[in-house]
């Protein structure tokens, strides 16, 4: 999983362009322009991510047409008035691309925030508790992973109907068990250390124990996992939209655009390729950043 496996520490340091302090000392995550963003991979990932997020956030403000206005012939290719041509109903593809990023971002970032909030809380409580709370919590977590995530999302949509709210709740349910398990493992590990035992002996409360002793020491595994999990959220959110079970039609969404313009892929391929490309750039850049971070941790923490 990381290319540095098998290399000597000295080689690793040289390849990364580091000669001084190798990496990461337990608790101190340095936030001043982190090292992983100084590698080529980190910079490339960040630049692409900023570009895609920029398109998604600023796009709706500069879109030349309304996203539902029919301004040309269905499936017509690019022309002077429409650089990306027209979609299957004759709407401006450029405007819809500029409008379609925001829902993708919202539908993935909001669930990710809740995923980590719930996952970290559940994981830490389970990891620290010495009672029945731990097994009970973990069995509840296990319930949500008895089958493929997309299947759980579809089930929920059948039961509760389509809509952004249902999709977001579904994404949290699908994503949080992994975080909870990961945090629980990290917490168990951290709770055997001297400083946690000292804090327990001092009689600190559960909350302050979690916030001041455990949380700062488990940020590395949590951050290492953020990249893949965020891209999973993007993939599921866009995928459900692609299946036509997310935002309802006039709204633009990169996932939905790919499926609705498939029939005109020959006359105006841009209507499909551009949203696909933007989604690809988003997921790849996020994974690149995550991978760069994992590599910056070095081998020991990376496999956690």
């Amino acid at each position: 999983m990381n290319n540095l496996a098998g290399a000597k520490p000295k080689d690793i340091a040289r390849r990364r362009g580091q000669t001084d302090d190798l990496v990461f000392y337990g608790s101190s995550v340095r936030l001043h322009w982190p090292r992983f963003l100084r590698t080529l991979q980190g910079i490339a990932g960040l630049v692409v991510l900023v570009f895609v997020v920029g398109v998604a956030l600023i796009g709706p403000l500069v879109a030349p047409h309304s996203l539902s206005a029919i301004v040309g012939l269905p499936g017509n290719g690019p022309g002077p008035a429409a650089p990306l041509g027209y979609d299957f109903l004759g709407r401006d593809v450029l405007s819809r691309v500029l409008d379609g990023g925001r829902p993708v971002l919202v539908l993935s970032t909001v669930p990710i925030a809740f995923t980590y909030l719930i996952g970290i809380t559940v994981g830490m409580v389970a990891g620290l508790s010495r009672s029945l709370v731990d097994p009970v919590l973990m069995r509840v977590v296990d319930v949500f992973i008895v089958f493929p995530p997309l299947l759980l999302l579809l089930l929920l949509i059948v039961g509760a109907g389509t809509g952004a709210g249902v999709l977001m709740v579904g994404l949290v349910l699908v994503l949080f068990p992994g975080v909870a398990r990961l945090v629980r493992t990290a917490t168990l590990e951290a709770s055997t250390t001297g400083y946690v035992e000292a804090a327990v002996a001092r009689g600190e409360s559960m909350f302050s124990l979690m916030r001041r002793e455990i949380l700062p020491n488990i940020t590395a595994p949590i951050l290492a996992d953020l990249g893949v999990r965020f891209s999973a959220a993007v993939i599921f959110a866009a995928g459900v939209n692609f299946l036509g079970l997310g935002s309802s039609p006039p709204a633009a969404n990169w996932g939905l655009m790919i499926s609705e313009n498939r029939e005109i892929i020959n006359t105006n391929p841009w209507s499909v390729v551009v949203p696909a490309l933007l989604l690809a750039m988003l997921t790849i850049s996020v994974n690149m950043l995550g991978d760069a971070y994992v590599r910056s941790l070095g081998r020991s923490s990376a496999s956690r």
């Binding site: 290319n3 973990m138 089958f147 493929p148 579809l154 089930l155 929920l156 993007v234 692609f242 989604l279």
Partner: protein, 374 residues
């Protein structure tokens, strides 16, 4: 990587490796032996002592059945999350009250929640997954869910099997190659290519493939239409792009895991010993390193197969391939609750079965796990 604190039972560790598309797993433990928490084979007397493997299999299957029960309950609760009337949703707003009442009676919608779940469960044990709501509403002659999902299930099986058959040798090859060249240019090329490929949503990769092979090169059809009643094998052209899409993403994941496993075993003492003993490097690699990296790879391939269960849903919709995934999405749109319940239960059963099979295979492959001392 084992989880010693996990009690045995329903969810003893690898009951379900991950809820996420397996990309997530690449951050989790890599190359290590699959969790052996559940493989604790005690040296007790009697049945357990004499046939530890049989005892282990029995326990895993029993745990799988319980997991499936949990899954069935979850399916039932999720599909009934909102009290919205299924009969009305299926028939549409114009339906007369009489028709709604009739359909409700046919689907037993007026019974209590628990009794509906109970009769569904009992029916399932008899191989009867109930009646499809939409088919009943249309007055179709055959309305049994079991009958409706047979053919699509076969078609999807063909798709998944072809992918797995190509996936295993290819990822072993690519992964081993990257491991041998570890740290060099070709390894970086493979690693970054697989990182990018594995990040893509299935429908994005599939769309790119359609644009390349259909729009630009005109060599392959953009949809995988298989006429009703004919075998997918009769239309090999149609299968190429769906299989390629699934293969691309799962190959990216598997080759990374294989690479990590091979690197791990190349570092072991027995490899050094073999090299010092003058055994040729090629033989050391394929017979010593790769063979020992196979056990963890079994778990990887199991995860990839489980991923395919979700992946086919998207890929079949993209290519209009008449499989179980496309049927599922159609019926979700139509809110055919009974059919969706049936399909998800079948898929969940396959998901759990793959898990158990992989666990048993690993215990069988790694003698260490069978002795009771670990």
């Amino acid at each position: 990587m084992s989880s010693p604190d996990r009690p045995d039972g329903v969810h003893s560790e690898p009951a379900v490796p991950s809820a996420l598309p397996f990309q997530i797993q690449s951050v989790a433990s890599v190359g290590a032996l699959p969790s052996v928490g559940s493989a604790r084979l005690t040296r007790a007397t009697g049945m357990r002592g004499r046939h530890p493997l049989v005892w282990y299999i029995a326990r895993r299957v029993a745990a799988g059945v319980v997991t499936l029960l949990v899954a069935s309950a979850l399916i039932f609760v999720a599909t009934n999350a909102l009290p919205g009337n299924v009969a009305e949703a299926v028939l549409g707003k114009q339906a007369t009250p009489q028709r709604v009442a009739l359909l409700e009676r046919e689907l037993h919608l007026n019974d209590s929640f628990v009794s509906r779940y109970g009769s569904w469960l009992v029916g399932t044990l008899h191989g009867d997954l109930g009646q499809s709501a939409t088919e009943l509403a249309e007055g179709a002659s055959s309305t049994s869910v079991t009958g409706l999902i047979g053919r699509p299930l076969f078609n999807s099986g063909v798709l998944a099997m072809l992918t797995v058959i190509l996936l295993i040798p290819l990822s072993l090859l690519v992964g081993t190659l990257a491991a041998v060249r570890s740290g060099r240019c070709s390894d970086y090329a493979i690693s970054y290519a697989s990182l990018a490929l594995g990040s893509l949503p299935e429908f994005v990769l599939g769309t790119f493939l359609i644009v390349i092979f259909f729009s630009a090169l005109h060599v392959l059809p953009p949809v995988a239409l298989v006429p009703l009643g004919s075998s997918p094998f009769a239309h090999p052209n149609a299968l190429v792009l769906p299989v390629l899409t699934l293969l691309g993403i799962s190959l990216a994941f598997c080759s990374r895991q294989v690479r990590a496993g091979v690197i791990e075993s190349l570092r072991q003492d027995y490899v050094t010993a073999a090299r010092l003993g003058g055994i040729r490097e090629r033989r050391v690699l394929w017979r010593y390193a790769l063979r020992n990296a196979l056990a963890p790879s079994v778990q990887t391939f199991a995860q990839a197969t489980q991923y395919l269960l979700g992946g086919i849903i998207i890929v079949e919709s993209l290519f209009a391939y008449p499989g179980i995934g496309q049927l599922l999405v159609q019926e979700v749109l139509l809110r055919d609750v009974t059919l969706v319940q049936g399909i998800t239960l079948v898929l969940a059963a396959i998901y759990i079965a793959i898990n158990i099979a992989a666990d048993i295979l690993v215990v069988w492959l790694v003698p260490k796990l069978r002795t009771g001392f670990q």
